[in-house]
């Protein structure tokens, strides 16, 4: 697999990936506000309820074929763990975010995420490259630099 893997792909996917980030921020802000009002459990429930409805609609709109039971049974069970992990991380982040300095809220999970991603890309998707490690390190430097700028201004204000 060539390291310049993306060139085979469509730049559209890069734009879609940026959109994922935009959606994550908006969803996180609104979820944070709602869970302060009605509690985490109710907030998460409404979230998943709406998401399930939208997911069903999306399946209809795209006219996906009916899911056959045979395929579902043949699928390895651990493939379904994503749903459990998704809920687990919501609660995990809920515990950790109030306890660690704001600077680390983005950076520490990012380190875990990017390292794990690189390992998975290497072993399962076979699209590892040096650029990803170098890029990940540069991300970290940039994040830490900006965090220091924020911290400096906060101290000036205080």
């Amino acid at each position: 697999m060539p390291c310049c893997f993306y060139r085979k792909g469509n730049p559209m996917y890069i734009i879609l990936a940026v959109l994922i980030g935009v959606a994550i921020v908006v969803a996180t802000i609104l979820n944070g506000k709602l869970s302060q009002k009605i509690g985490v459990v109710n907030d998460v429930m409404i979230n998943y309820f709406m998401a399930s409805i939208v997911s069903i609609l999306l399946c209809f709109i795209t006219r996906e074929h009916m899911l056959s039971i045979e395929i579902l049974i043949a699928t390895p069970v651990y493939y379904f763990l994503g749903g459990f992990i998704g809920l687990g991380t919501i609660f995990l982040l809920n515990i950790t975010v109030p306890k660690i300095p704001a600077v680390y809220i983005v950076i520490v999970p990012f380190i875990g995420q990017i390292l794990t991603s690189a390992v998975i890309d290497y072993f399962y998707l076979d699209i590892f490259s040096k650029g990803k490690i170098i890029g990940g390190c540069l991300f970290l430097v940039g994040l830490l630099y900006n965090a220091r700028v924020d911290k400096k201004y906060k101290e000036d204000m205080a």
Partner: protein, 140 residues
Amino acid sequence: MYKGLALKSGVLLAMMLFLNGMLGGVIGPYYSNLIFHLIGLLLICMIAVIRKNQWVKLNEIPKMFFLPGILSALIVLLNNICIPKLGITLVVGISLFGQLIVSNLIDHYGLFEMEVKRFKKEKLVGFSIILVGMFAMLFL
């Protein structure tokens, strides 16, 4: 201890994206998205019952707060679509870049009733480094 937990949540997030992607490879990104949210809905309902949760009336909640659920469906779906094409690392990297830009815009203009925090020009240095990092991920 809590930093360790934060690190683990990052690890779990990456694994979640991977498993969703693999499931999507078998049953398609749309059904993978649906199953992800149905499992989550079922679990959170069970948690709510066990914890004897105080229920809220849906009509008392401002409509704006139904948006995150819609976005959540789009986030998981777009991840399922992008990861097979770009790999997880790249999707995580690019989406973090999008997060940084939007969160700074929201802070600068005080959108979503957030406290206004004007953008500091020094932060352009950090953003440039991150941008170089993104190009390294794409091109090297």
